[in-house]
C-alpha cells in the first residue's frame, strides 16, 4: 500500500501486482512441466523395475548370461543373453557400416562440395532422418532381404565361406536372407543422417585459420582433414557416433522385419537372431499379465533402458563442448 503512494503514476503498481500473480502462475507451470519430465522418467524406470523384479528374483544374474528363452508353460526359463548380444552386435555392426559413409558425406559437404550443392545434399540427409522406421522395415523386407538372399548368399555364399580365416563369418545354414546382416544394413541407413549431420556440424566448427595455415604449408585436402580436422573434432565425432548407436539400440519395427527373430546365438553374419526390442514387440501382446514371461520381457526392457542410458550419457559427455557452443 505504502508503495502505491510513493509512485508517481497510480497505474504502475496495479499492473505490477497483476503481473506478479501471472508470473508466479507461469513460473509454477513451467516448473511443474520440468518436474513432470523427471517424474515420468523416474516412473518409467520404477515401473519397469517392479515389473521385472519377479524375473530378476527367479533367475538372478543368470538372466544376463543364459541363452535359454523357453516360454512354454510349465517349464519357463528365461535368459536375455541372445537378445542383449543381438542388440549390441547389430548396433555395432550398423555403426561400422554407417561411419565411413557418414564421414564421406561430412567430408564432401565441408571440403569438396561447391557451395551451391551443399544445401540440397545437406537437406537430403536431414530428410532421410524424417523417414518413418516402418518404411525402412518394408524396404528392408522387400528389397534388402531378397537381395542378400539371392545376390549374396546363394550366389557367393560358398566363395565367401572359403575365404581363409574369416570364412566362418559367412558360413550359415540360414538361407532366408533375414539375418543380422540385413538388420545392420537397414539400421546403418537409418542412423546415417544422425552421424553425418553431427560430423558435418563439428567439421564446420574447426576454426578456418587452422585449416588455412595447413593449406598454406602445402598440405593436401586429405592431409588437412586427417591431420587437422579429425584431431580437432575427434571427441565430438565419437559423441556423434554414440548418438547414432543410441538410435540403433532401440530400433524396433525395421529390425523386427528383417532380423529373423530367432533366439539363437549368431555364428555368422547371415544367421538369424533377435534383439531386445524385437522380442518385446513380438511376445508382449500374448504374454499373460503377471506371468514370468511378461516379467522377463519387462526385465529385458529395463536392461535396454540401462544400455541406452549409458550410451546416450556418454554421447552427451563427449559432445558437451559442442552442445554448449
Amino acid at each position: 500500500m505504502s508503495d502505491s503512494t510513493t509512485t508517481p503514476s497510480g497505474r504502475l503498481p496495479r499492473r505490477r501486482g497483476a503481473g506478479s500473480t501471472g508470473d508466479i502462475i507461469f513460473e509454477w507451470m513451467c516448473r511443474s512441466a520440468g518436474f513432470l519430465v523427471l517424474l515420468l522418467l523416474g516412473a518409467i524406470i520404477v515401473t519397469l523395475f517392479i515389473g521385472a523384479l519377479p524375473a530378476f528374483r527367479e533367475f538372478g544374474f543368470d538372466f544376463l548370461f543364459s541363452t535359454k528363452w523357453d516360454p512354454v508353460e510349465g517349464r519357463e526359463r528365461f535368459g536375455g543373453a541372445v537378445a542383449i548380444l543381438g542388440t549390441l552386435l547389430s548396433a555395432i555392426f550398423a555403426i561400422i557400416l554407417a561411419v565411413p559413409i557418414a564421414f564421406g558425406i561430412a567430408f564432401f559437404l565441408t571440403e569438396l562440395a561447391p557451395p551451391w550443392l551443399r544445401r540440397p545434399v545437406g537437406t537430403a540427409i536431414e530428410l532421410l532422418a524424417a523417414v518413418p522406421s516402418i518404411i525402412f522395415g518394408m524396404w528392408g523386407l522387400f528389397i534388402v532381404v531378397p537381395f542378400i538372399q539371392r545376390n549374396i548368399q546363394l550366389a557367393w555364399g560358398e566363395e565367401l565361406s572359403a575365404i581363409p580365416l574369416i570364412g566362418f563369418l559367412f558360413q550359415s545354414s540360414n538361407f532366408a536372407g533375414t539375418s543380422i546382416f540385413a538388420a545392420a544394413l537397414v539400421i546403418s541407413i537409418m542412423i546415417l543422417p544422425f552421424i553425418a549431420a553431427t560430423m558435418r556440424d563439428v567439421f564446420d566448427q574447426v576454426p578456418a585459420v587452422y585449416k588455412e595455415s595447413a593449406y598454406g604449408l602445402g598440405a593436401t585436402r586429405w592431409e588437412v582433414v586427417s591431420k587437422v580436422v579429425i584431431p580437432y573434432t575427434r571427441i565430438s565425432v565419437v559423441g556423434g557416433i554414440m548418438l547414432g548407436l543410441g538410435r540403433a539400440l532401440g530400433e524396433t519395427m525395421a529390425v523386427t522385419f528383417v532380423i529373423g527373430n530367432a533366439n539363437r546365438m549368431v555364428g555368422s553374419v547371415f544367421d538369424a537372431t533377435t534383439t531386445i526390442a524385437s522380442v518385446i514387440a513380438m511376445e508382449f501382446p500374448e504374454s499373460l499379465s503377471g506371468s514370468l514371461q511378461q516379467s522377463a520381457l519387462l526385465a529385458l526392457g529395463f536392461i535396454l533402458f540401462i544400455i541406452s542410458f549409458i550410451v546416450l550419457a556418454t554421447s552427451r559427455y563427449l559432445l558437451r563442448s559442442r552442445l554448449k557452443a
Binding site: 512354454v72 538372399q149 532366408a176 530367432a262
Partner: protein
Amino acid sequence: MTHGFNRRSLMLGAAALPVAGVAISPAWAQQATITGAGATFPRPVYERWAQAARDPVGITLNYQSIGSGGGINQITARTVDFGASDAPLAQAQLTERKLLQFPTVLGSVVLSANLPGVDDNALRLTPEIIADIFFGRIARWNDPRIVELNRDLRLPNLPVSPAYRADGSGTTFIFSTYLSRVSPEWRAGPGAGTAISWPAGNGARGNEGVSNIIRNTPGAIGYIENAYAVVNRMTTTQIRNKSGAFVKPETPQFLAAAAAADWSVPNFAADTIDLSGPTVWPITSPTYILLPIDPPADKVAASRNTMRFFDWAYRSGSDIARRLEYIPLPDATHAMVRAAWTANVKDPSGRPVWTPGAA
C-alpha cells in the same frame, strides 16, 4: 406421427429410402452392444457373424482382435463381455478366473512350401520329416527321405528354410502341439505353446509375415492358417495322418476332423490334433470363447446377449464360417454348449442367465 416421420427422413437426407427408414429405426433402437476381445485367428468369422446378426438378433458386436493373451487378461479384469482364446484354458485357470469356456469353430493349420516346379498339394510329407525339417536336420529338398515319398516330383536342390510365427499366436500353439504329438523328441525339446524356442529357421510376425518369407525364399516351408492360405493362394502340402493316409488340406478332411473329435471332455477342450481316420486332416483346433459365470447385476443383459449372439451363430452362421474356410462344429456339440450355458452362467440371484428357447 406422419409429420414427425417426414421431418426425420428429411433430416437424414434419406429421401430415397423412406420405407426402409421405418423398418430399420425400431431395430436400431433395440440394438444392444456386446464387446469382446482376444484371438486374432477367428476375427474374420466373428466380424462376418456380427454383420449378419445385427438385424435378426439386434446385437452389435464390437470385437477387438488383440491376441489370445490379451483377451484372457481383459476378460479376467472384466473390461469386456467375453474373451476369446485359441488355446483352451486349464480347469484351474477357469475356476480361478470364474469363466466358462466354449468352442465356436475349428480352424486348421496347413504347411506351405515354396518349391519351384512343384504344384499345389503335390508334395507329400510325413510327420517325422516335418519334425526333422523344423529341427533343422534336413538341409536340402532333394534329401533321399523326401525324394522317396515323392517319386513323381522333381525336387530342387534348394536349402530347406523353415519359417515360423515369432509373435505369440494360437497358430503356433496348434502347430507346436502337433509336432509334440508326433515327435517325443520335440515334446522334450522345444515343446508346445503360443511361443516356443525354435531350433531352426526364421520368424516373422503374423500369417502375412510367414507367407512373405515363404513367397520370397525358394526352399522355404512354414505353417499358416488355412483361411489365410486359401485367400492368398499359397502352395500347400499333403501330410500323412495317423491312419497312414496322405490327405490334402481341403474342407471334407477338416470336417472329418471335427466329427472325429470327442467333445464330451471337460470344458470342451477337445483334442483335434492328429486324430485317427482315413480322411482326417491332422492339424486342426477349436477356438474358444471365455464367458464369466458370475455376471454382476449390470452385466447380466450383456452376458445373455453374448449367449444369444453365439446361439444365433450356431444356428445360422455355419455357412458364413465355411465360406471363410472355418470348420463349423457338429450340431451335437452346439447342444452341449447350450446346456453348459444353462448349467453354469448364473445371475446374482442364482438363476441361469440363459434358458433354452430364450432367444
